[in-house]
Symmetry: C2
Subunit: 460 residues, 2 copies
Amino acid sequence: MSLTQHLSTSISFSSSSFLSSSGFTFRNRDVSLPSENFGICRCVATPQEEKTTYKTKVSRNANMAKLQAGYLFPEIARKRNAHLQKYPDSKVISLGIGDTTEPIPEVITSAMAKRSQALSTLEGYSGYGAEQGEKPLRAAIASTFYGDLGIEEDDIFVSDGAKCDISRLQVLFGSEVTIAVQDPSYPAYVDSSVIIGQTGFYEKDAEKYGKIEYMRCNPENGFFPDLPKVSRADIILFCSPNNPTGSAATREQLTRLVQFAKEKGSIIVYDSAYAMYITDDKPRSIFEIPGAKEVALETASFSKYAGFTGVRLGWTVIPKELLFSDGFPVAKDFNRIVCTCFNGASNVVQAGGLACLSPEGRSAMQKVVGFYKENADIIMDTFNSLGFNVYGGRNAPYVWVHFPGLSSWDVFSEILEKTHVVTTPGSGFGPGGEGFIRVSAFGHRDNVLEACRRFKQLYK
Amino acid sequence: MSLTQHLSTSISFSSSSFLSSSGFTFRNRDVSLPSENFGICRCVATPQEEKTTYKTKVSRNANMAKLQAGYLFPEIARKRNAHLQKYPDSKVISLGIGDTTEPIPEVITSAMAKRSQALSTLEGYSGYGAEQGEKPLRAAIASTFYGDLGIEEDDIFVSDGAKCDISRLQVLFGSEVTIAVQDPSYPAYVDSSVIIGQTGFYEKDAEKYGKIEYMRCNPENGFFPDLPKVSRADIILFCSPNNPTGSAATREQLTRLVQFAKEKGSIIVYDSAYAMYITDDKPRSIFEIPGAKEVALETASFSKYAGFTGVRLGWTVIPKELLFSDGFPVAKDFNRIVCTCFNGASNVVQAGGLACLSPEGRSAMQKVVGFYKENADIIMDTFNSLGFNVYGGRNAPYVWVHFPGLSSWDVFSEILEKTHVVTTPGSGFGPGGEGFIRVSAFGHRDNVLEACRRFKQLYK
């Protein structure tokens, strides 16, 4: 197969690679696109094959149909592919998707290997585990991340990742609730909300779905929503440190957020997947804010701490104090969702999670996080030296670069065309991201340095 | 902590352990029940603590509220616990939950260990994988289980287990479809349907949820629904070999099922999690039936083949030919669900799955399956020799014993009281299971033999 052929049938990356209108899209470079005979209509106008395509009488879920076909990451993949076809010898560097690149510390992988091997022995074998996670891991998460915050072991639900938990939370809340999201934000919040039926249709001009409250976050408001202008929503999805802006909310801001939720009777779904990247004294958990347990739950992940993006491990904290309007505990319903729709994270992987939280594991994770933060420093310094306004980066592995007045996609295309570096156009995270580019700090050091050299050439 | 104390705060098992009305319930013996201060109301009538419990203004999902509190497995766990308190020295044997007990073959655990270790190297590290699964595993599943059936690698979606996929399928189909289930059947079908909003309320007298079509399966109809009497449903959930009856549908029966679905325009969700237990020439996949690709998808699992109940790996096959009424391919929407609500099975676990499908792995899995089937033979012989009508067992790891005219719960209680063996009352799988007991063939050989000795004493 020639390189061109290969490129035309494979796509190299995407974060939550959704379908494009032209067919499947895939994240992994090993995954081929389905052959072109995949299609809605199989009718072929040759006499031998003349037959009607059979259709069931099952209506397609109307919520699925609301989802936009032209999703961010497939679109990027298409553009990257087109670029590679145009410049087959270019050394493309991806600082697009937030995918970890550095090996997992040995203390962690050894624990997984050991647990795997033990499963072949009578003493070491275990079948179904608790859907909520193994007791020692739940206890270690509670003490490591929530030491004196009053979060207990049985408030922790271990999962196969934050993205999966966000979806399970949407199933838990159901179609009748309203949601608010930061704008820009991680696309899975909005898409899972659309799928479960909480939203109206996509409004093309506004680039928004109906019935979602988009809370604008930009340099003018310090990337924190202007709460007095925010309409009440049942569920407030809030990510800090933020993906994509890299901004971490201050204690004072989060206190206001909790106060806002309490006044409105909302539930905050706090995504702290990047909390270990916080350098300064900003809160790493929403539960550092007094009263938060009555209005917030928190979802988190090992993905960006230990390089577990492919290993899959996360957790969600739901305090006993968090109650629906009828007084029913949210945790009880989530427990039921976890038991009905999930069967626990892999036992092998949970052994890895436990090793992450040993003293050696914690120190090893800190090193991994520190490495990516150095990358972020390099990227920030580069854009700063070129005179750009640069946000994020300090408390997050994402650098958010401002190109005021320009289209994110135009900037993305120019960077790709002239430097062969893949970034992410900010508008892909919501209309509030227009005019920005997200540069990911996940990458090998030499790639980051080389990308920065190219940025300097382009913008010198 | 005394034994009695320990027993009163821990529960030993349950399959899809849902909440009981009294609080959380857990499957794993290592998991403590939450302390008694978990509750809806924290009000305490002491002056210092006098404060109103804060409630959010978010309404509890009405579908969650429809779920019945007194679920099968917690109820069994409660009875087992009460039994252990009454007879603290009894040697309780569990043939209740279908949980694997035998070690995973070394060829499989080694592959997982190797993949784990590789993740700590630059060459062996990988981050996000394709949400749909790694290409070699998808290819191996297609060729191993669907060799000449025209199922292709890209029709396979690798997952963290069949239970999880069933739930994702419910999200895909949404709240507007109607479903039909075998009665009795695996409880997660009905519960996931309730959660997503496809059903009416639970009707206590009928022991059924409104809007679900329960297809009675009993000895009279050969455990195959009387299709001419079945009302049309959009989605037909069909499990063969069946959990709990252990009955596998014949080629002729499945041909009628496919024909029925085609006439009604329904989609069959075919659960083949126990297909490797089929001894005779009954179909192992719905796709062995001509035309099935236009009306069926299939979900499957490594859990009961390789002892992966705690490792977590399964897959779902969605043929390109399966279309909604508007011609939109079901696979395309499922792909989007997988990408939005899931992030792929663990890479370490997928390495184990691939090893399962190597020649050595396949032969090792056959041995594990063969071992449990010998257990089933022992259990069947026992009940046959005692004059019971016994079903299942031959093509499945479950033996379905008839106690005509008796209450399943009464039989369950008598067996527990007099033999210290935990079984599962058939009525827990739906009203059609009344008068039956499910005896699981998962267990160490000496436990199975000892349980059978006790059965013989009880019923001699």
